[in-house]
């Protein structure tokens, strides 16, 4: 068991002073002062892009080029690499776990520093017994010979945490540790974290789940637009207090106007185009029932990892649901692959443009691929393809305005427009968009919003799936909120604001 000589004095474990960091002229952090005491759990909240993860990446030695000072136990440090940070006792558990699913629990705990016998052979016995003891000391009771991938996600996460702790970390950064966990698993994690805190280590707990933050943290810090807004003891504050500070009272710093309150309108008279009933898929989502009508944009909002990504893929036949049914225009459909989904009138734009587009191919081939079967049976008709693509390039004002240009030469926003254009020639019945405006600048976002609204007005049923409240609020006529794989709330015909959305999730 690694025990560090813990500093008894009042020197903070970690101090960040006047930290600023910008990416290509855009400020990600502005003059941030942050203090982490020994033996505390420090909650970190803020919206996407508020600067939380930039801050943590500086601490973990990922970003090495920044302004300001960083002190550990009162001594100034400047890490040149993640390895430096690790050596200085900083450990990070990422949202995407970096475990080896095919190795045993014991091997995972000792990854990279397996005990060896005198002959240089791995000492399996002491590795397994060591792992067992160490895990037990954290209150985790697992057979170290179990294959890692056979354990539930919650335990995998705890074991990765254990590895970080036993590697000698005194500052442990947890990025969204509860997003994939069930309530009992969350409780187990919290018990372990309390034990870690008692040993004098410091924990930074980043989460979108404000309830979790409030129940485990000693102190909480709010980030907004690259600034540290407030650091406060968790005593006497509540969810509303946090949300207010995350969003900003007068919205003065937010460029998007639609983050305020908007009124949702539903379309009761329209026919239902797509109806999902009791859909379920593995651990991703359970008992999802909803419908979407013609001429309506249905927003599905939820935090990262709440199952909305998998749900979107199910609608396009990429994932086969384990349970439940899907009906399109009242007819039940079993979508076995994406070709059948397309034939059934469903179109899909995934959150990652890379998995939608052909970067080395010209724009026109990117546009025509999804409608090739309608343009030609056997022989290609490149002139028709070019004509169709040129029409879209013009109507969507894609830059540069030439259908012959290789897609890779376009900017991200223009690439996204091409991804949309694929589905515009022969209109689908349902358009499923996953994170349609992620990573776009404001102008491109507005363009995409306009295009999607125009499609809605033409009678298309649109489903927008996103973890960004702005995206959902700027587009949706009706909003479903997903939480840990279930639909927990529906907003319809009412006024909705970002706080209410966040509160529901």
């Amino acid at each position: 068991m690694t025990t560090d000589p813990l500093d008894p004095s009042d020197t903070p474990r970690l101090q960040m002073q006047g930290i600023s960091k910008s990416f290509g002229g855009v400020a990600a952090l502005r003059d941030v002062d942050f203090t982490l005491r020994a033996g505390e759990i420090h909650g970190l909240v803020g919206e996407n892009g508020a600067g939380k993860s930039t801050m943590m990446k500086i601490i973990a030695g990922v970003h090495t080029d920044y302004e300001g000072k960083m002190l550990i136990d009162g001594k100034e440090v400047h890490f040149r690499s993640a390895r430096d940070a690790l050596a200085a006792g900083i450990g990070m558990v990422h949202q995407e776990l970096s475990i080896m699913p095919d190795l045993t629990v014991g091997e995972n705990v000792f990854l990279g520093k397996q005990p060896v016998t005198g002959a240089g052979i791995i000492d399996w016995r002491s590795m397994m017994s060591g792992a067992h003891e160490q895990l037990k000391s954290l209150g985790i009771d697992v057979d170290p010979k179990t294959r890692m991938g056979d354990l539930p996600i919650g335990l995998q996460q705890l074991i990765e945490l254990a590895r970080v702790i036993f590697s000698g970390a005194r500052i442990i950064i947890l990025d969204e540790p509860t997003s994939a966990l069930s309530p009992p698993e969350v409780q187990l994690l919290f018990d372990v974290l309390k034990g870690v805190r008692a040993s004098g280590r410091s924990i930074v707990f980043i989460s979108h789940f404000l309830d979790d933050i409030l129940s485990i943290s000693d102190t909480v810090t709010v980030f907004r637009n690259g600034k540290l807004i407030v650091t406060h003891s968790v005593e006497g504050i509540d969810k509303g207090w946090l949300i207010e500070r995350m969003i900003g009272a007068g919205h003065e710093d937010l460029e998007e106007s639609y983050t305020g309150t908007i009124t949702l309108a539903s379309k009761p008279g329209q026919p239902v185009v797509l109806a999902a009933e009791h859909l379920g898929y593995g651990r991703a989502y359970t008992d999802v029932t909803f419908d979407v009508k013609a001429g309506e944009i249905l927003g599905i909002y939820g935090f990262m990892g709440c199952g909305q990504i998998e749900l979107a893929r199910t609608l396009f036949g990429k994932i086969k649901a384990d349970t439940g049914t899907l009906a399109i225009d009242g007819r039940k459909r079993r979508l076995r692959n994406t070709t059948q989904a397309r034939a059934a009138g469903i179109a899909f734009v995934p959150e990652n443009r890379r998995s939608m587009l052909f970067y080395e191919q010209p724009v026109y081939k990117n546009v025509s691929i999804s409608i090739l079967g309608r343009i030609s049976r056997l022989w290609l008709k490149p002139n028709v393809e070019r004509a169709i693509a040129s029409k879209h390039v013009e109507s969507l004002s894609i830059r540069p305005p030439r259908a012959e240009v290789a897609l890779g030469a376009l900017s991200g926003g223009n690439q996204q427009k091409v991804a949309l254009a694929k589905w515009l020639t022969h209109r689908p019945k349902v358009l499923v968009l996953s994170e349609p405006t992620r990573g776009m600048d404001v102008g491109a976002k507005d363009d995409v919003v306009k295009i999607v609204r125009a499609l809605r007005d033409e009678g298309l049923a649109v489903i927008v799936v996103s973890a960004e409240p702005e995206t959902v609020l700027s587009l949706a006529d009706r909003v479903l909120v997903m939480k840990k794989g279930r639909i927990v709330r529906e907003f319809t015909n009412e006024t909705i604001s970002k706080d209410r959305l966040l509160e529901a999730a």
Binding site: T338, T339, R354, L357, F358, E360, K365, L380, K422
Partner: protein
């Protein structure tokens, strides 16, 4: 100032073009260099007769390589081409009346039926490849490795160590005769190259092949039936191999076990040396033609100069290695550009 800007822009544009065409330029330059070298080194090399020789020599490899081009463009591989060729060649001979001294328990049928059965055999083997790769999900490398053994097994069982000589007339006409002094087997190759090129370049199926090879996930998200395309490519490859096997048996004048053993490497080498990307999505029949010529010239030219025949094998290996390095290197240039552009 303005002029300077445009001229540098133009310069970088043309160097970009050169770099993007590297895949096509490098194999062609290799071919030219080999031609010049062998023409100087041997007086008997650069003759009309020898050109016809080379063409005949690359024919069997070439027909296989056409099918393999489809598979490699999808980003997959087929290691069973030579084995399927061998099995199909033996099947067609098995169903043909042999001379009395051939000691094979064969079943002679009409010539057209023998050919039909042989075609069915190679199609069937291709379907097994397709089923294993797409439905079961075995990586094509492993699936076709198993098929390589299965094909060899079928060949061994049918001839049982014997050699068959006769094939149906239509097969021997295609594989072992001349039209106005021009070998028919080379005509068969040209027909395959032409049909392959037209299919890949001008048909919807060909476009799907390139798109599936270029970005399989994106093809799937565009509603392309990726499994169907991959399966079709594997079946096409098996049928090409089978036909190569049949005309090859006619060309060699005999059908026996292990007859096509050297052809797997040659066929893959022809496709890859020509510049078709091993990762899929780039290249085509044009590249395969250049690759075939490089291989044909190399094999033939090494026979024309006085060189240790054992050294030949090593030289072929080194040339293949060089082509692979260029192939992967060009791919890296492209992915770096893409990362910068995005």
């Amino acid at each position: 100032m303005t002029f300077q800007q445009t001229s540098t822009a133009r310069a970088s544009k043309s160097s970009l073009f050169l770099r993007s065409q590297m895949r096509n330029i490098a194999p062609f330059a290799t071919l030219i260099l080999l031609l010049i070298f062998f023409s100087i080194a041997s007086p008997s090399f650069a003759t009309i007769d020898n050109a016809s020789n080379i063409l005949t020599q690359i024919s069997v490899t070439g027909i296989m390589a056409v099918g393999l081009t489809f598979v490699i463009l999808c980003g997959e591989i087929d290691l069973s081409v030579a084995s399927i060729a061998n099995a199909t060649g033996i099947v067609v001979a098995y169903f043909t009346l042999q001379e009395s001294y051939v000691n094979i328990a064969n079943i002679p049928v009409a010539g057209w039926l023998a050919v039909a059965l042989a075609l069915a055999a190679c199609t069937g083997l291709g379907l097994v490849n397709a089923f294993g790769t797409t439905v079961i999900g075995i990586p094509s490398f492993i699936m076709t490795l198993a098929m390589m053994q299965i094909g060899a097994g079928i060949s061994a069982l049918l001839v049982r160590g014997q050699i068959a000589y006769n094939v149906p007339d239509i097969v021997s006409t295609l594989g072992a005769s001349n039209v106005g002094g021009f070998p028919t087997i080379a005509l068969v190759l040209l027909a395959f190259l032409l049909v392959g090129h037209v299919t890949l370049t001008y048909t919807r199926f060909g476009r799907y092949i390139y798109m599936v090879g270029g970005n399989r996930e994106a093809a799937e998200y565009s509603g392309v039936n990726v499994k169907l395309i991959l399966g079709a490519a594997l079946v096409i490859c098996a049928v090409c191999s089978g036909i190569a096997g049949m005309v090859g048996v006619a060309h060699f004048g005999s059908a026996q076990q292990n007859e096509f053993d050297g052809y797997l490497l040659d066929a893959i080498a022809a496709v890859v040396v020509g510049g078709t990307s091993l990762f899929g999505g780039r290249g085509g029949i044009g590249n395969t033609i250049v690759g075939l010529c490089v291989l044909g010239v190399l094999n033939n030219g090494l026979d024309h100069i006085q060189i240790d025949s054992f050294l030949k094998i090593l030289i072929r290996g080194l040339i293949l290695l060089a082509a692979l390095i260029v192939n992967v290197y060009v791919q890296n240039i492209r992915s770096v550009e893409r990362a910068e552009g995005a």
